[in-house]
Symmetry: C2
Subunit: 869 residues, 2 copies
């Protein structure tokens, strides 16, 4: 007796069996269970795939037996028979892993056809042409997918044929040629035995689990190689059986806008592949109401039913065979950020889902692009489009054009903004697409591969832009007699489909009503505060608009760099006595104070964490001889002496040089003047506006408690003097950055002097890896090519190393001070996966760029839902 | 009833009571216990000092009572009375902390004198002049030490007096003037009440515990501020009571050479301070045999007794009062490294101490200087001395002369080698002395302050060089009509007392018989191996001579920099294909192999750890335009292109740039060729010499296991090919540096691929502190001034931060691989305190510069004795 079942009829499974049946198989089973018309079939489990690899790539006898037995049942249900000359059963064979990997796995249709059954099919369909067409397609698909024969060989045969409607005898001739190719390439005849066809096809699906594209996709999506794929064998239905047949794909809501209306396309008398591949001009789904009204209404009902059942917008594939509607697949549909938001909000209002479920439905990263890209309105008004395509994925993009993914990636890696221009994209273009600001294709519709991929990635995309003539080899495209060459700028508007032949500025969009409702829910849910890194009043305003609950990092370097101020800081550097230095700095005081006043006013009562100066003094000094000469004239100091002074500030490794608290320790007067400006400004604003401001003063680059203590003493002394002199009560906090590994290692000591820790994960990552970010590029390409890094640790927190250090610092800090404030202000504060880590570790807040605030709020809310504090 | 005793008569204490009575007090008690003639007295405990500070700097009533009671007992024992006009008891008041802090605390002599008792003393001594001289000294000492009046004021009075022998009436006049100064400065009369004098003096000793010099000394010697000092009150005996009186200091063995013969000096008719301060010309102790033969023989017996009792060479102070010998103090004597070695070895041979005790008797740091300094013999033969002084502290020194400690320190901090030239050194010269290569004084003998301090610090010192005329103000000295100005070079020979008026090369001395006997014991004791950092066959030879058990770090950078090789590495960098690169590198193969052959031959069967290339490629490229032009001509490549290539290798933070394993990952051919050279050389040497060589190949700058694994794969593949091709069996190991914080944090993962960890504590310290060593100088001075760093973490391991990381890495590494090899090859491998840490943490070996090997061996042995594994 067998101990394991490897083959399940669709009606034996259900949605919860994803691991075993794969996503597609479980969904087909589920659909059948809820009464959706699905062609009969069965699923060979993922365990069978694992067994296949475990047994030296052989399908074991017992599994073959199960397959045949399932096949027998399908024959009974459909009343057709596999290999029967009169009434042949044809099947499709599709992969289906636990998680959908679109375009990554291979599909074979019309399996079961051979020289005999093709005739039966012709008779059954009353359409000999259709049967031979199907047979041709099958031979081609089987040859390329199962046997790995080059597709081009078959396409050449088709290209040589007349482009007009092929007759049956044309098709028969083509089939002869196809079979010859097969024979030439494999050394044997095209298999006539349907069972053999089936087993070979199943093995091919198993094999495709390890095809390079699939491996890369899994790697970049964190999917384990060990899962394996299931295989779905399903009886064929035909959308190419004439004018009452058709095939289509649809979303139950609009995947671009989120609007609640079914959105899709179909082609009459066509097979499914035609739609996805962008062959033929598809019709919008509404036209079906006229073409096949009964099918239309049935379709609409089922779409509604599926959405209710899955509690999410569905992406469905359907086929109509002679007026009978079949659903071939359903899955959660990919959507733009805008659509995701609207769908989430609408579904809550429709009482279909709750708020938490809604919040989990939107990918944080999607918001990111939603908030980034739009053209400047005025510029847009003045601009004339050179072409117009389909608005396949929203957003705006501007970049230099390249015609291959390799070029796009290469130039992107060199820091260019690029736009990938292709006739249509192929699955292997994934890397090129992700490197691009936007995608422009001349073929394909709204559901073409390019469109789907771009939407999933939140990349602007315009498809079907068919008045462009691309010469990929020459590296240019022509439109209206104008030539655009590789490297030229164009701009794409993903909301209108417009293409502009020039550089155009992209700007931030305003936020919509759906957005603010949705973000309100994230704020209700999340426990971790989201602050902004903002250095100017303008940034602070923007941050507040985006929902920042405070300013987690206000850098003060910029305040010194302004043209009207740098001369004072230069005086401070060049002068030698502390008294002179202090006098020079005091000239800066009113200006700095003004900056802080505006920042406090913009922040209202939100907390503001201000970091003391953290910059190498060398950066303030002129570098070339003539600028030094100018400065020496201006300051009335000896040129040579000044030059020596400048040189003395040069550092071999400025990243690890005299910055941060090291500056304040060498030049305490800097910390003094900064504190004075911070406190006086706070007092002024409190006096004028009544805001209860509690400045948080942050000491950077601390490596041990004594550094902090030294600077803190200056800060406290100065602050207390200012408060006393003002006669106004004002609280303030002094904390530190944790960005030097040693600070993390000795956080217990440091906590004794710090009211809060703000983790500077950028520098912490640099120092923990011993990797200068400025110099990273040369090594990083080798590191990625050679799979040494799975991700860029400056984008996503390195949990194994940097994360361990943070965890240690948090624990040590709390040992000393249980309620110590904990936050993060590095780049990773915008990254959803890192935000989850910061949530789990118990941070009070994260701080990121204003434009990333919504992403962070959403990620924080999701982290809370997944692992409630 | 009182619960605590704060005052102990000398005979109530013993040597074990150091904490309570201080070192001096405990020793005095111990001496009395073993029957040494010591003037009677008592000790006020360190607890009394703590109480004094705890009670707002007041000596409490109960302690005063105890003092008076002890005083009464002393009066009885000596038959003299405090304040008695006829038969006055005079006392000295001295500080005495748990650990001797020479010159740091203040002493008052002759206390008890006043306008009346001075007359009684005169009558008792039969010498009025002596009495008034003593009274004058007392007033001066009390005024300056207790009341803080400027010494110069008193010296001016003395300078104005005739320089000839002062008469009694001169002295009386001086006393009147001294008292006037006292009155002018304090507003009251000089205290006539001896009890009041005593209490004020005791309070002054307590106060001196916190004088700045004492605080700095404690800080730099790791002595806690909390210990407090005891006060010793001892009845005075007088060395200045005529020709049968005298005073002296002596060592029970020669502190410069270690020779077993009492070594000391005395002055007839003088007080103790005169000897130490270098006033008068002292006589060698042997002369006492003639002057006072009975005293001499008694002295020799007691010296022997003390040495046997304390099982160490003693440094004693003695006074002869009218033919009666008293010992005032004994303590372990400071000695040169050479003396320390000889004494340790001799004492074992005398069966006075065991080998472990002997090993603990030598300060590892002392060996360091012993091994550093000597002049080149040939140069020395040719050189003419410009002057000759006393050889006060061994060694050779060459440097620029400076005349103040400030100057010496300043120029030392700027990287100069300096020699401090002074009439005599003062206690406050400590910083200047420690900054100097050598000390030259015109006054003072072998036991002068300068001599003692220099020997303690292992710094070369020549004293009593009285034909030099120093003009400190003008910044020069004159000798034989030649003027040497500030900044000029001179050279000192501490073994002969010769002074040379020019730059002379210092070289390593050869090791003596005592040295090798002693080092043999360290090797018997220690468990941790000592290896050397050596990159050349010459270094390896030297390392082996110094007792290295292997080569812990053989850097390969230098092999590439040689004039005849750099062109190949440049080709490798400039060429673009891997094939070209490999071809260029292959030209280096025979040269590299030759290097390794010589290194293996020099190392014999000792293990050799070779580090793969760890250098920024930029360092191999020419930097200025003309060199680039030359290279472009030579290589036949376009100048501009080459210039761009060079520029592309420039890094902002080279320390954190593309070096170490990052190079091998970008240019695997480098690791390949290096491995080939390493393995082929090992096979050749094994074949030729039969040495069983097991090369240890070390991958630098690893931050995560994947980096190591990538490079290891190249190494293993190449090595195995070489072995296979040779037909000779050869083992080899692949390990990694742990020098990036992330490597330490993920050491469990890394250990899976590494056979050994070698901690690169230099880089680990840089990265953990986020401090570039190259740029440290600017911040470091502020950091030291402001007491933010207690020590330089690049010299001594930072246990709190870097040490914690190392500890973590060791534990994680062993979790994965219990027997993983553990070593260290950073600068701190030479530092005894760090070596103790590495021993405690369980390292298999430390590796340091060849010249530091003996220090490391000794430190490792001491660590083993203190905390046996």
């Amino acid at each position: 007796m067998k101990d394991k079942k490897y083959v399940y009829l669709f009606n034996e499974g259900n949605a919860s069996m994803r691991d075993l049946l794969g996503g597609k198989g479980a969904n087909l089973a589920e659909m059948i269970n809820i009464g959706i018309p699905v062609p009969e079939g069965f699923t060979i489990t993922t365990e069978a795939c694992i067994k296949y690899y475990g047994e030296n790539k052989t399908i074991s006898e017992d599994i073959i037996e199960e397959i045949y037995s399932a096949l027998g049942k399908i024959e009974k249900k459909t009343g057709r028979e596999f290999g029967n000359k009169e009434n042949p059963l044809l099947v499709s064979v599709r992969s289906g892993a636990k998680i959908s990997m679109p375009g990554m796995m291979d599909t074979i249709l019309n399996l079961g056809l051979n020289d005999e059954t093709v005739k039966g099919l012709g008779r059954l369909a009353g359409n000999e042409r259709f049967a031979y067409d199907s047979y041709g397609r099958f031979i081609q698909m089987f040859s390329t997918v199962v046997m790995g024969i080059e597709k081009k060989k078959f396409e050449d045969v088709l290209d040589n044929a007349e482009n007009a409607e092929l007759t049956v005898s044309d098709l028969k001739e083509i089939i002869v040629k196809f079979k010859k190719i097969y024979n030439d390439e494999t050394g044997s005849n095209f298999p006539q035995n349907p069972e053999r066809q089936l087993l070979q096809a199943i093995a091919a699906v198993f094999m495709s689990w390890y095809n390079p594209r699939a491996v890369i996709y899994r790697k970049s999506n964190g999917i384990s190689d060990k899962w394996g794929t299931a295989v779905n064998v399903q009886s064929m239905v035909f959308g190419n059986m004439g004018e009452t047949s058709g095939t289509g794909v649809a979303f139950t809501r609009n995947p671009a806008t989120g609007e609640k209306s079914v959105f899709g396309e179909y082609l009459i008398n066509a097979q499914g592949e035609d739609v996805v591949a962008g062959i033929g001009i598809p019709q919008p789904i509404i036209n079906l109401k006229e073409d096949l009204p009964e099918c239309y209404s049935q379709f609409m009902n089922i779409a509604h039913k599926l959405e209710n059942h899955y509690r999410d917008m569905q992406d469905v594939e359907f086929t109509i065979e002679r007026g009978k509607l079949y659903f071939l697949q359903t899955r959660s549909g990919r959507r733009t950020a805008q659509a995701a938001l609207r769908i989430a909000v609408d579904m809550v209002e429709e009482n279909l889902i709750g708020k938490e479920e809604a919040v989990l439905k939107v990918e944080p990263r999607q918001l990111d692009t939603l908030l980034h890209l739009n053209f400047d309105r005025d510029e847009l008004k003045r601009a004339d489009a050179i072409a117009k395509g389909l608005p396949a994925s929203q957003g705006a993009a501007c970049g230099r054009i390249y015609f291959t993914s390799e070029d796009a990636k290469k130039h992107h890696d060199h820091g260019e903004k690029v736009i990938l221009v292709k006739t249509e994209t192929l699955p292997e273009d994934i890397e090129g697409i992700s490197a691009s600001e936007g995608i422009l294709t001349t073929k394909g519709g709204m559901t073409s591969r390019a469109a789907v991929t771009a939407r999933a990635m939140g990349i602007c995309c315009v498809t079907s832009c068919n008045n462009l003539i691309i010469d990929e080899k020459a590296g240019n495209f022509k439109v209206k007699d104008r030539l655009y060459r590789k490297g030229d700028y164009i701009s794409l508007d993903g909301s209108t489909g417009n293409v502009y032949g020039k550089f155009m500025q992209t700007v931030l969009p305003e936020v919509s009503g759906y957005f603010s409702i949705f973000m309100g829910w994230t704020d209700d849910i999340k426990k971790m505060a989201v602050r902004a890194n903002a250095d100017t009043p303008g940034d602070v305003k923007k941050a507040v608009e985006f929902g920042a609950e405070g300013i987690g990092l206000c850098r003060t370097e910029r305040m010194f760099f302004n043209e009207d101020r740098i001369s004072y800081i230069r005086e401070m550097i060049v002068f030698s006595t502390e008294e002179q230095k202090r006098r020079a700095l005091y000239k800066l005081l009113p200006k700095q104070k003004e900056d802080f006043i505006k920042i406090y006013e913009a922040a209202g009562e939100r907390s503001v964490t201000i970091r003391l100066l953290d910059s190498s003094l060398y950066e303030f000094l002129p570098a070339d001889e003539s600028s030094i000469k100018n400065l020496s004239d201006k300051m009335g100091v000896n040129f040579q002496k000044l030059k020596n002074t400048v040189r003395s500030f040069h550092e071999f490794n400025p990243m690890m040089g005299q910055r941060g608290c090291r500056l304040a320790i060498s030049y305490p007067e800097i910390a003094e003047i900064q504190t004075k400006a911070i406190m006086e400004a706070a007092i002024d604003v409190k006096r004028e506006k009544g805001y209860n401001i509690v400045p948080e003063i942050m000491v950077p680059l601390v490596g041990g408690v004594r550094e902090l203590k030294y600077v803190k003493n200056i800060v406290v002394k100065t602050a207390d003097e200012v408060i006393k002199a003002s006669g106004i009560e004002l609280g303030y906090k002094v904390g530190t950055m944790i960005e030097v590994p040693r600070a993390a290692l000795t956080a217990d000591k440091i906590a004794a002097e710090a009211e809060f820790f703000s983790f500077g994960t950028d520098d912490l990552t640099q120092m923990t890896f011993g990797f200068s970010r400025d110099d990273l590029s040369k090594s990083l390409s080798s590191y990625c090519d050679k799979k040494i890094y799975e991700f860029d640790p400056f984008q996503k927190i390195d949990r194994a190393g940097v994360g361990k250090l943070i965890d240690m610092a948090v624990k040590l800090g709390r040992e000393t001070k249980a309620d110590i404030g904990l936050g993060i202000c590095g780049e990773q504060g915008r990254d959803p996966s890192s935000i989850e880590f910061f949530h789990d570790i118990g941070f009070d807040y994260i701080s990121c760029l204003p434009v990333k605030i919504p992403v962070a709020r959403l990620a924080a809310a999701q982290a809370q839902i997944k692992d409630p504090r």
